[in-house]
Symmetry: C2
Subunit: 380 residues, 2 copies
């Protein structure tokens, strides 16, 4: 009998953001009793589960929170892994494992892991400080990344020329060859304790023709079967070599000569898997639960093609969120709006996402653009 149906079983989530919120929403189907830790008392999860406000990076806070859980998982990587290791020693299950979280927290260790395990990735050099970066002029153009605490675009910058070297990060980091990629793709892969592995269909990012920002993403990706095979192999290879239990999102580049290189990974549900809620037999959220609870993994195949648009706070608005264009977009067939329960908007804050499903891929893309142009988060 599955332990989760024990009447006193409790699943703890470190982080109470939208990923935790959608994990809880999925877990309702299985009577799962969730408890959540997040520093923000009004985090998206706060009204949907037992909730504790506290610092995810504080040893004592995580220890105390974990002591009331049977299984602990994360929805953000920046957590105190020392406490998680201690909780494992005390007999708690922690998935993904603290060692995996630690490896992924530090981009230097992550890149070194790829190199040591023959996982294709862009060439790189480790750098200790700004002075050190200056030594690698011949490596330009390159991406300069901080080892730790980069998140959602922070801690990552492009250095194209010698002139730009002055902005190099003055902390342990790395310099990675800038890839002139053809496409950016993602594969989400799951693994349970029994070692069963399943990948979701490859997702493709679409960039705005002039701004360098992801406009929307869609699945199935329009790629050759060889590229799809490379991508799936890389994703499966990484989760197996990490010996990880849980969900791993693997972001990759496809180069102009059709080689696939791993960019970075996240050991949790991911932005590039939101559309699986509507479009796949099993959603990434249910798959994460199945993986960490050691249930059989779910079938990941597509039921219908889908696109996903992030709903970000408009640049010039801060305050109580208002969703302009909401009725116009939900009038369209196959448009699913997901709001994250954040009362206040601010520029570029992730306020929600929209999934669009359509049997016809060209229609899908048109609707994604329509949603992007119509639905706006402004302030009251």
């Amino acid at each position: 009998m599955s332990q989760s149906f024990n009447q006193h079983f409790k699943l703890g989530i470190l982080g109470g953001g939208q990923l935790g919120r959608m994990l809880i929403q999925s877990g309702i189907d299985f009577n799962i009793d969730f408890t959540v830790l997040d520093p923000d008392p009004s985090a998206p999860c706060s009204t949907l589960a037992q909730f504790k406000s506290g610092k995810l990076t504080d040893f004592d806070t995580v220890m105390q929170f974990g002591s009331h859980c049977d299984i602990i998982t994360i929805e953000i990587e920046n957590v105190n892994t020392q406490a998680l290791k201690q909780l494992v020693k005390q007999g708690k299950k922690v998935f993904p494992q603290p060692e995996v979280i630690e490896l992924i927290q530090d981009k230097r260790v992550q890149k070194t892991f790829y190199k040591e395990h023959n996982i294709p990735t862009a060439d790189f050099v480790l750098t200790e400080n700004a002075q050190d970066v200056l030594k690698h002029k011949t490596f330009l153009p390159a991406v300069n990344k901080l080892g730790k605490e980069g998140y959602d675009g922070r801690g990552v910058q492009i250095i194209r020329t010698e002139q730009e070297l002055s902005k190099a990060f003055d902390a342990p980091g790395l310099l990675e060859k800038l890839i002139d990629f053809e496409k950016e793709i993602s594969v989400i892969v799951a693994r349970n304790e029994k070692g069963e592995i399943k990948t979701f269909p490859v997702v493709e990012m679409v960039f705005h023709p002039t701004h360098n920002l992801v406009e929307y993403l869609f699945a199935p990706a329009q790629l050759s079967s060889d590229v799809i095979k490379q991508a799936n192999n890389i994703a499966e290879d990484i989760i197996r070599k990490l010996d990880m239990v849980g969900l791993l999102a693997v972001e990759m580049f496809v180069t102009k000569d059709s080689k696939v290189l791993v960019n970075e990974v996240a050991p949790r549900p991911h932005n590039s898997g939101h559309q699986t809620i509507e479009a796949n037999i099993t959603s990434q959220y249910e798959q994460h639960l199945r993986a960490i609870l050691n249930w059989p993994l779910g079938d990941t195949s597509l039921v219908i093609p889908s696109a996903m648009v992030n709903l970000l706070g408009e640049p010039e608005y801060s305050g109580p969120a208002v969703y302009k264009g909401f009725e116009e977009v939900i009038r369209e067939r196959g448009v699913h709006v997901h709001l994250y329960g954040k009362k206040l908007t601010k520029p570029f804050r992730k306020m929600g996402h929209v999934t669009i499903v359509d049997e016809d891929v060209e229609n899908l893309k048109k609707k994604a653009i329509f949603v992007k142009e119509t639905l706006k988060v402004i302030a009251a």
Copy 2:
């Protein structure tokens, strides 16, 4: 701007069972702030929203609960409609409207409504007491129904012969000609305040070959286009003539000569619409929200054929629920288990349901039988 995105908007649900639970689960996508009233402090909704324990049939309790809401809806019909009418007078929105709930609460009024509005239904006579039923021997075989407070099979019995007349209900009720039906079907229809109407695809019930119990239901129903048209027309006709806002489930018989007759209706999400969560562009729960919030109704078309199996407590078990066969069934592609969060099982209690999706209808039916035979709710 939609009122629901007002930062202090609150949607109250009378009833905290599984229908309310799935309504809340769907409403998470729209940041809807729910509050629930139910007599059972551990009702399925109790952990997912603001929750108040109290009697749904008590005037003062419903008044007090409703005074904190902006819109009030129901997930069970047996509620105090006097209080709801009073709340409407105070400016609250109540959908379905109290008058509609009242009409449906009393099967005598409901049947009379069909007759007066030329909606096809089985012939019937109203009866005041057991004595009265005896006068209608020529009407047998018939179904004897109590006017009020019948629910989930209670208050309904078949009287086939004169000998059986002794069990007639001794309270206001009715006697309805027993229909020798070919099939039992259901259509869920929604209507918003603007008067927009949409029906979900017809659902067909499958009965066990020997027991007279619904084994599973599936969509799309395997019916002639003429029967489908009759069924849709009846559903739309009823919701329009009731001038109702919200979701209406219309259960119907298809006679052996392909006529469609309405059996009874429920003005809320319904057991015959659970599978829309996975299988349709819009689920019945989201559609109910769209209808009562006066948003554009969602497209109801099927993405994939589906079947739904109710998960009832096994006859000989009472106590803390255990779900035997859970891992066996979730291993199958397209099997979605929904548990209702009830700690205790008892014989025939609705503990959950299972939706099965499959492109192939014959496969679907095989899987439905497999689920029915494999997954059992017993007690620890």
